[in-house]
Amino acid sequence: MAKKILIIGGGLAGTIIANGLTRQLGKELRSNDVSITVIGDNEQHMYQPGLLYMPFGRIREKDLFRDQRSVLDRRVVFHVDPATKIDISSKSVATESGKTFNYDYLVLATGSRLRPDTVPGMTEGAHWFYDLEGARKMRDALDGFDGGKIVVNVNAPHKCPVAPLEITFMLRDYIEQRGLTDKTEITYTYPIGRLHSLEPVAHWAESEFDTAGIKHETFFNTKSIDAEKKIISSEEESDLDYDLLVTIPPHHGSQVITDSDLGAGGWVATERDTLLHEGTNDVFVCGDTTNIPISKAGSTAHFEADTIIDNLTSLVTEGRMACTYDGKVFCFVETGLKEGTYVWFNYTTPPNPGPPSQMVHWFKLAYNRLYWLSARGLL
């Protein structure tokens, strides 16, 4: 009987794992000793980090998308048929179309989603760029912006932890380019007592913000937004008025995770070293889906995927696990429209970002294209 590997989710994590497994298990695929199936909810694969550039008109929408079938190795069986119930006791997954998929090994890569609806007034009163529709609306709002108060508001939890800083620096440059600096005030809010979770990044950002005249308020967790009066209020009893509110909405995991009782908020309890769902030896969890206290970012998904590919390959061919995940995360940080830096860390090595440079910015722009090689498992 062929070993069935079932991957739920066609985002970066699920796609890298599927493609990586085909490269490692070519012989087993040819002899029909293994099958690799991906269940996704969309025929299109979106390069999510590209959304950062959309409000400024610096990336074309069509460049954000590829046909998911073309990104996946042809040996991967792909269904656009969202999972509706995962039953790990019977090793089966039910889908929207009424099908049931059985598995020997399961990978949960269902990702995260924006939940502006969990904060009163956020849907009506705020803009965001973390999804396509939001980025389009924010682009339109910026086109019509003629000076005033901009608030960049960050909520927990959220993915891509440096994107809020990046959008703030890019807004500053955009405002300057449009000659609106004298008429504009930018204020950045963050949930904890500094400007970023990573202490060195927070210190660097504070210095940059002060130089650029960007105001900031820490310990700001959004309680509600009055869309008519244009006031955002925090749990810490602070109110800020705004003309343009750019928010990073709080995230939840996928609904199917909640509906399957696999984790509160849609986050799956995951062993931080093996990336196995706690209490199992056949269910791996990758990317935003885990509850591991680590950055929800594409690079996290990528490095976790490498570990899962190695372990699944080893389990199928040798019946044993091969390696563990060391917590590695790497993030580019755009520090404006012309310069960038990067930061990496793992469970034991703290981050230490270098000085911004044009070279790193160019590399980030290059990576906007190279991403597709990552998704295909080639990079």
Partner: protein
């Protein structure tokens, strides 16, 4: 029946123990407790400061070697 959730944020540089606490408080009921395990000594100051600001309850802080056990009860 109030429950206790444990967040193992040892070695977590990003998003870090306080961000994890804030995110997890949104998922539990009023009266529930969350225990944060942290190796970041700054958490032992940041978390109580924030908990006081937003009027949750600090149940306790203990240091066991280089691990901090910080327990918070959701009050609203």
């Amino acid at each position: 029946m109030p429950s206790t959730t444990t967040i193992d944020a040892r070695g977590a540089f990003c998003p870090g123990p306080l961000m994890e606490l804030i995110a997890n408080l949104k998922l539990v009921e009023i009266g529930d407790k969350i225990e944060v395990l942290s190796t970041d000594k700054g958490s032992a100051m940041d978390i109580p400061e924030w908990v006081k600001k937003v009027k949750h309850e600090m149940v306790g802080i203990e240091q066991d070697g280089d691990i901090w056990h910080i327990v918070v009860r959701k009050m609203k």
